[in-house]
Amino acid sequence: MNASASTVAARPPARNATPAALKEREQGFLTLLVDGQLCGVPVLSVRDVIAETVVTRIPLAPPEIAGNINLRGKIVTAIDLRRRLSLRPAPAGRHPVAVVAEFGAGSYALLVDQALEVLTLDPADIEPPPPTLGAVWIEFSAGIFRLPDRLMVVLDIGRLLFADQEAKA
């Protein structure tokens, strides 16, 4: 898998790319920072990015549920991405950014440290996550991109939003 940039086009489509994505070729990814790790989510599933927001705690909810957000009259449940990915809790006093993503019929807000920029990438360049990646990262990632200076983990929104649990219910 040490293909250089010049051989990118010849590489077979990555396993995780959906057919729709292949047709479009280029796809936008919103890049995020979570505990120093660069992540990306498909920009088409993102509805909103809110910097300052009040999160109302929900008692008795699982720890990764940060609470509810009032998104212009709609109630959106916020998920603390650091907790969801079993990372260190955010240092005190830092205000997280809420990335509102749509999944199924509902919307959820992912609380991240920072939302950066939208990168246009070819889904064919997605590589499967290396096995050395932590188990949690493997569970929630749809693959990784090698950017010129660093790696970006593509997050699997469905899994992050408890798709597995909903399917069971």
């Binding site: 009040v54 109302t56 705690r57 929900i58 008692p59 008795l60 909810a61 699982p62 549920i65 609470g67 509810n68 957000i69 009032n70 009259g73 109630i75 449940t77 998920i79 509902g106 959820y108 939003l161 408890f162 649990q165 909903e166 219910a169």
Partner: protein, 869 residues
């Protein structure tokens, strides 16, 4: 014009428009087979319905048209413009007839002989030199828009000519509209569209409330700036407010349906009941056109039916009794509805024997619901409310109509689920009256906002009885009993629950939550089912109208919340479920366990159920489904007596056999913890060493057991736990104890139970046997059908829905298809709520798993109906 005809007119006008379009399309593409089929179908349907409704003229025209289309369809005839023209003429003729019908008149007289002849000749392949004009739609219509023109000139003089044309057009439409009044003043809209509109309007109302609140608060601190803002905003704000209210009412109206729709089955029901019970009953309905939200309407149907049954069965006397009491032989049941404020009030009244508080009180006492001392202090109305208590049935003898045990408590919990209330008034000898008060709509509810530890929550106002500041008056004193806080409120003891403790509102600064608890001083008294409890909170803020929104799926399994909402100030808060609070705090155990409330759901959709953990003998902790247990008792040692080799105790005025859950359960200590399993008036007590906890968990038996009385071992709450086969103990007790009762009953009826899970089968069999049924089991649908084919006969079938292989619905369809079982009552048992599919498949009734008493009642009912039919 009756509804049937009105529907027909609307539908036919729609079909005719479609027909016009299709005919034009066909003229352009004569070989378009699907279009020919469509036209044929349209005309065929009109013809068929005409015959049914008795419209001979329309039928003849449609029939002739159909004959032509049939030839076209089979390609015996070619499509040409003459043919199209003739069919169009036929369509116009039909439209003309329909127009007349839509004005509420009979079919117009007239001769269609020529047209029919032309059509028939065409069908035979001959062309008649047609005398029937290929007319435009308006031509055959008798009422030409004359009046419109005569009205126009008055304005014509002062407006330019093109404006006249414009003016005339709407007039024409009016004249025409009158003709077609019935056909065009209603349109059909999907319920979804209305639901969506209702949601949007509810949001709008909330936003309006938010704006009003902002306006109020900004007005206060800085008078001058506030005045300016208020001055310029006040008028448009007022208008917006009024418009929003009007819009809300308008949209609500679209969802409204007359309550008569829920009543239309009642006359039949009353007739059948009168017949079955040998009583003479007259039904009077008042206010059938009272409208309420269709969602509420759906939910009120079942409770209403139940209450009518109750009135007919328990309320009214037999003709002989009535005559003796000096009343007319025919009893009267009155069903009345009216609007009152934002509510609909429904009355179910009978002029029967009334509810005798003395008898009710005595019965409540023998059932252990109340002590004699307390009973003395209760008012008659309070005593009558015992009939809403779980398991309280007023009929001295159990009858097939009202069933056993299923009573008004189910009605009450159903009504409470839609935020309604139910109450009773009665005079001995003169009759009883039930008053149901339900909200017009479920979309917006009134809620009380409360808070502790800096967080706010909403409680549905309907469950709030009062708000008490303990210590403010001498008859409201905080106390503890055995460490549990209680409030002595006007000489009654009220169990107390801390909001902080229940929701674990601990913060980093206050990790134990003790500080927050100390700050809680106000008691909000809630009614939960038939009991009351006090919720201690720090603050009571305000009442607000809120829109209940469902919570996100990831947090749906927290039973303490029934929704969330956005307050006027924009904050998102959770809505507390009073029933959830009562259950979480274990109050349900201290008094009566509400085993039949909808969300007790032993087989809830997430597959988890409430389990009682106990310790009995050595070895692992033991678990059994909470739904099976009626009460938990601490029986004083001195009250346990030995008769022969058996242990008994006095319980609710009768002897109750005691069985040890494990042989090693020792009689030690002053009190013996006992789990009471009951079946109607029969109880048995399971002795255990210790009652540990109630947990909600999945019940997956991983290692099965050969030991009698145990299913096997499961992991519950993180510990290896023996799962108790309660059925085993029930059977043991019933063999020893209930045998006489069962034998004394009437002929035992045979019931087939089809259920794949051993666990549920073991639970069902003993309760059914104890109720006097002869039970046969099959572990899947195929085996059940094999029993049928081998000639086995039963009186009723109870079947699970989710089974491997053939599921319950397919099984029901198979049974209904034919054979000796095709007419048998079938009751479905399911963990899911999909009664509709079940009934469509052929089930007589549909019951959630573990609603044991509901099942028994349903069986009785099904069998009674079956015999009657």
């Amino acid at each position: 014009m009756d509804d049937l005809l009105a529907d027909f007119v609307t539908e036919t006008l729609e079909s005719l428009s479609e027909l016009d379009l299709a005919l034009v399309r066909l003229e352009k593409a004569p070989d378009d087979q699907p279009t020919i089929s469509l036209i044929f179908r349209l005309i065929h349907t009109i013809k068929g319905t005409c015959g049914f409704l008795g419209l001979p003229r329309l039928e003849k025209v449609a029939h002739a048209g159909e004959t032509v289309l049939d030839k076209l369809r089979t390609k015996a005839l070619r499509v040409d413009s003459h043919c199209i023209g003739l069919v169009l003429t036929a369509a116009d003729r039909m439209r003309m007839i329909i127009d007349t019908l839509s004005r509420g008149l009979d079919e117009p007289a007239g001769d269609d002989g020529e047209l029919i002849h032309a059509l028939n000749e065409l069908a035979e392949g001959r062309v008649v030199a047609t005398v029937v004009p290929v007319a435009t739609a308006a031509a055959p219509a008798p009422a030409a828009p004359e009046p419109a023109r005569s009205a126009a000139p008055a304005t014509a003089a002062i407006v330019p000519p093109e404006a006249v044309a414009k003016l005339v057009v709407p007039d024409q439409v009016d004249a025409h509209g009158e003709q077609q009044s019935r056909g065009q003043t209603t349109i059909r809209v999907g319920v979804e569209v209305l639901e969506n509109l209702m949601g949007l309007v509810s949001e709008l109302v909330l936003t309006r409330n938010q704006l009003l609140q902002i306006l109020r608060t900004t007005g206060r601190p800085d008078q001058s700036a506030g005045d300016a803002a208020e001055g310029s905003l006040a008028t448009p704000m007022q208008r917006l407010s009024q418009l929003t209210t009007d819009l809300q009412e308008g949209v609500m109206k679209t969802r409204m349906q007359p309550i008569g729709n829920a009543w239309n089955t009642v006359p039949r029901l009353v007739r059948d009941l009168a017949h079955d019970l040998g009583k003479k009953i007259e039904l009077v309905t008042i206010g059938a056109d009272t409208e309420l939200d269709r969602q509420v309407l759906e939910l009120i149907k079942d409770p209403l039916t139940h209450m009518i049954r109750n009135s007919a069965d328990h309320g009214l006397e037999t003709p002989v009794e009535r005559r003796r009491a000096g009343k007319p032989e025919t009893g009267q049941i009155t069903l009345a509805a009216r609007h009152e404020g934002g509510h609909v009030v429904i009355e179910i009244r009978d002029d029967g024997r009334g509810l005798d508080p003395v008898k009710l009180g005595a019965r409540a006492m023998t059932q252990g619901l109340v002590t004699e001392e307390r009973l003395r202090r209760m008012s008659e109305d309070e005593i009558r409310r015992f009939i809403f208590h779980a398991g309280f049935s007023t009929a001295a003898a159990i009858t097939s109509v009202s069933g056993r045990g299923v009573g008004m408590d189910v009605v009450r919990s159903n009504i409470e689920q839609i935020n309604g209330t139910v109450d009773i008034e009665s005079k001995v000898g003169q009759g009883s009256q039930f008053l149901i008060k339900i909200p017009l709509t479920l979309a917006i509810v009134s809620a009380l906002v409360i808070g502790s530890a800096g967080e706010r929550f909403a409680i549905p106002q309907i469950s709030v009885v009062e708000i008490v500041l303990p210590g403010a008056q001498p008859d409201m004193v905080l106390d503890t009993i055995d460490g549990a806080p209680v409030l002595r409120l006007r000489n009654r003891l009220l169990p107390l629950v801390s909001l902080t403790r229940t929701l674990r509102l601990h913060t980093e600064a206050d990790p134990s939550g003790d500080a927050a608890c100390l700050a809680e001083k106000v008691v909000v008294v809630l009614t939960v089912g038939s009991q009351r409890l006090g919720l201690i909170v720090e603050h009571v803020f305000d009442t607000e109208e809120i829109v209940v929104k469902p919570v996100a799926p990831v947090i749906r399994n927290i039973p303490l919340f029934c929704g969330n909402t956005i307050l006027g100030d924009g904050a998102v808060i959770m809505i507390l479920d009073p029933l959830g609070i009562a259950r979480a705090s274990g109050l349900g155990m201290a008094t009566e366990i509400r085993s039949r409330s909808a969300d007790t759901g032993i087989a809830a959709s997430d597959g988890r159920s409430d389990l009682l953990l106990v310790r009995a003998g050595p070895g692992a902790q033991k678990a059994l489904p909470l739904a099976l247990i009626a009460r938990l008792e601490m029986v004083p040692r001195a009250r346990i007596e030995a008769t022969g080799s058996r242990l008994v105790t006095q319980y609710r005025g009768a002897l109750m056999p005691l069985v040890a859950l494990d042989p090693a359960v020792g009689l030690s200590g002053e009190h013996q913890p006992v789990l009471v399993l009951s079946d109607g008036d029969q109880h048995i007590g399971l002795m255990v060493d210790d009652i540990l906890d109630v947990v909600r968990d999945r019940l997956d038996v991983e290692i099965s057991s050969d030991e009698p009385g145990l299913f096997g071992t499961a992991i519950i709450d993180g510990h290896a736990t023996d799962v108790v086969d309660a059925g085993h103990f029930l059977t043991r007790a019933s063999q020893n104890w209930f045998r006489q009762v069962a034998a004394a009953g009437p002929v035992r009826r045979r019931v087939l139970v089809v259920e794949d899970s051993d666990f549920f089968r073991h639970l069902l069999v003993p309760s059914l046997s104890a109720a006097g049924y002869d039970v046969t089991t099959a572990n899947d649908a195929e085996n059940a059908l094999a029993l049928r084919d081998s000639g086995e006969l039963f009186d009723a079938i109870i079947s699970d829905i989710e089974m491997p292989g053939m599921d319950g619905n397919s099984f029901a369809r198979k049974v209904r298809e034919g054979g000796p079982w095709s007419k048998l009552p079938m009751v479905a048992l399911s963990g899911k709520d999909d009664a509709k599919a079940g009934r469509e498949a052929g089930f007589t009734d549909y019951i959630r798993k573990f609603e044991r008493e509901t099942l028994l009642a349903s069986l009785e009912q099904c069998l009674a109906q079956h015999v009657a039919a």
